[in-house]
């Protein structure tokens, strides 16, 4: 069974801090994704990666960057956290983009004060 692990369940950071959200998957999936989830807006794609060291912008990349140095690990970086980045962040992985299911981690609820 695929396991996607996010390093933190809850995080509280201050405005302007640099924030790292880590995600690890154990199924050798090529594709990894970062979504944010906000009430009434559903899940919105921030960034994705289809291979090591490859990254692509999703629908809302502004204010975020990512890193994929190893196949199993995909990190989301908030260079300078702002209050409008308070949200639930969900990492996911999949075998084939658009055709196979996404496997999500438990999510990280980030609060920026």
């Amino acid at each position: 069974d695929v396991k996607v692990t996010q390093s933190s369940r809850y995080l509280v950071k201050r405005t302007g801090e640099k924030v790292f959200l880590e995600c690890v998957q154990d199924m050798d999936h090529e594709n990894m994704f970062w979504y944010r989830q906000d009430p009434g807006l559903g899940l919105r794609l921030i960034y994705f990666s289809y291979d090591v060291k490859m990254k692509e912008k999703g629908d809302i990349p502004e204010g975020y960057s990512v890193s994929r140095e190893k196949k199993e690990r995909f990190s989301l970086i908030l260079e300078s956290a702002s209050t409008n980045q308070t949200s639930m962040y969900l990492c996911a992985s999949s075998r084939d983009r658009g055709r196979s299911p996404l496997h999500f981690g438990n999510g990280t609820r980030l609060t920026v004060t």
Partner: protein, 112 residues
């Protein structure tokens, strides 16, 4: 741009009543996936539909993919309290990246 709309946004039902959520895409989809997110949890994959007019069942849940592959529905018969959660549909974006584009979800509350 591509849109995937889900209705209703919220639904409250008495336990034992049926429930349906509808998903409509502005473009034709190669497939559609459904996910369930329990309160406090993360989305969990339920099913994928690929063929035009396809109908699939999982116990009390019935999933349909429209003939034009632009809409889909999830119907739950005789809801139970374990059905509580938010149900999302998702389809591949029409861009080359082919990533999943999620609907806004339907939050189901079941009143015992």
């Amino acid at each position: 741009g591509q849109q995937v709309m889900q209705i209703p946004q919220y639904q409250h039902v008495q336990e034992g009543e049926d429930f349906t959520t509808y998903c409509n895409s502005s473009t034709t989809l190669s497939n559609i996936q459904w996910y369930k997110q329990r309160p406090g949890g993360h989305p969990v994959f339920l099913i994928q539909l690929v063929k035009s007019g396809e109908v699939k069942k999982q116990k009390r849940l019935t999933f349909q993919f429209g003939e034009a592959k632009k809409n889909s529905s999830l119907h739950i018969t005789a809801t139970q309290t374990t059905d509580v959660g938010t149900y999302f549909c998702a389809g591949p974006q029409q861009t080359g990246a082919n990533n999943l584009f999620f609907g806004t979800g339907t939050r189901l509350t079941v009143i015992p």
